[in-house]
């Protein structure tokens, strides 16, 4: 508990670290903050061409929004996914990449993965803002769902930070972690219904056994993506079980990461 108090006392440092991440990132670029929008736009274009035109994937029709537009359906899930992976990979390397700072000054080190999540979240707000505007433009009405969306953003942030804190400690001992995580995340992406609908998996499960779907839904990101699509694309309440699972994963992962981090923090400076 005294560690939490330390974190609270030094919250201004967290603010400054977040600013450092945000300002440092697009320094000396002509487009600046716009880059954070161009990246998802480019991805959207590629997936839309490949899946919508080449594979002829049809998105679900939004219920009750009535939307039937693959790029919007895709982005409703993809934005959550990209926030998650950026926060995890950035947070995981935040300790090793700030070795110089850790060896020279004391401050609660947990601010480093926190700063990554918050600055990633800040950029993500822009992307979400544009997506919400686009959905509105094409006939959806996501505005009333924004408060609930923010709640799930926080939960997703907790999940990502928890995993990042855990992996950051492991990464100090074994630098393999960051390379290994990159592979796991790219496999995880295809195992999560981001670019294809879960109905494909349901069909497969109906033919080959229900256990497939059960295993599939153990993945917390599947739940989060479902919730984000409910809120953004369908404009409706997320399923209760999805919401509870998201909540449990977020709190569980964060607490685990927190405890592991606090117990290992003291030795970080000499291990780096």
């Amino acid at each position: 508990m005294s560690y939490a108090r330390d974190l609270l006392r030094t919250r201004e440092l967290l603010g400054n670290l977040v600013q450092r991440e945000i300002k440092g990132k697009y320094r000396r670029t002509v487009l600046g903050q716009l880059w954070s929008l161009l990246n998802p736009l480019a991805t959207m274009l590629v997936y839309t061409v490949v899946f919508s035109f080449i594979f002829q994937a049809r998105p679900r029709v939004g219920d009750p929004s009535g939307l039937d537009i693959y790029p919007l359906w895709l982005m409703s899930g993809l934005l959550a996914w990209s926030f998650f992976t950026r926060a995890v990979t950035g947070g995981l390397s935040s300790i090793v990449s700030n070795a110089g700072l850790i060896k020279k000054v004391y401050f609660p080190r947990m601010h480093l993965p926190f700063a990554v999540t918050l600055s990633t979240g800040f950029n993500w707000l822009f992307e979400l803002g544009v997506l919400i505007a686009a959905i509105w433009l094409f006939g959806g009405f996501p505005i009333p769902w924004i408060p609930l969306l923010l709640v799930f953003m926080v939960l997703l942030g907790l999940l990502a930070t928890g995993i990042a804190m855990l992996l950051a400690i492991v990464n100090v001992h074994f630098r393999d972690t960051q390379h290994f995580t990159a592979i796991v995340i790219s496999m995880w992406f295809y195992l999560t219904p981001v670019i294809y609908p879960i109905s494909l998996v349901e069909t497969a499960a109906a033919q080959r056994g229900d256990w497939i779907l059960t295993v599939y839904r153990l993945n917390p990101m599947e739940r989060f993506i479902a919730v984000f699509r409910n809120l953004l694309y369908d404009n409706t309440w997320p399923a209760l079980d999805d919401s509870l699972v998201c909540f449990a994963w977020a709190i569980g992962a964060f607490l685990l990461g927190y405890v592991v981090f606090v117990n290992n923090e003291k030795r970080l400076a000499e291990l780096l």
Binding site: E12, G15, K23, R27, R28, K104, V105
Partner: protein, 252 residues
Amino acid sequence: MTESAVVVDGVSKRFRLYRERNATLKSALMRGRASVYEEFWAVRDVSFDVPRGTTLGLIGRNGSGKSTLLKTLARILHPDEGQITMSGRVASLLEVGSGFHPELSGRENIYLNGSILGMSRKEIDSRFDEIVDFSEVRKFIDQPVKNYSSGMYVRLGFSVAVHVSPDILIVDEVLAVGDAAFKTKSKRKFAEFRDQKRTIILVSHSMPQVRALCDQVVWLDGGRVRAIGPSDEVVDAYLAHIDADEVDSNEE
């Protein structure tokens, strides 16, 4: 008796010296479960008291554990044995400008570094001009610090650290940097600190400086306290020891 600002009680710090330390899973697996390392005590059973408002100097040969001890005082390292009690706000200056981000401007870095050292935004606001004046980099304050000369970099970092106005200041060989004018200036700043009844713990290899600045000196030798006492006494003993060593090695 005046109260103690810092009490160091039986502090030891141990490092593990790994035969191969390349932090990969492969090397861990090849080693088997028990990793191969030797234990090495960099600081061993060190105890001393620093009364409030005094300056303590740490001296000793290279590798005698001075920086390691300072890092445990600064909470960067955690002692394996013993306890450290500090009363008041602590600022450490182990390497100047270590919290700087090269792409950010001097101004932005003052805020970042100040908050790393424990200043609130308000405090930095109110001392901003002082910090900039002391560092003499006003003309370049809105330039990214990677364009600074190394001297300017050091000045700005030092300036931020001394304006944190801590109750206890921990410094490692920082006075060795900067040009002559800046050295004079930083010495004056230290004198000012002493007048304001702040406690300073510093490491230096410059014996005249130690005599001039310190009330009390701890001489570390191989991680242990070799001598402790008034600065002139301990410095004389240390210098005599070094001279004797030199005679020894010349005779061989």
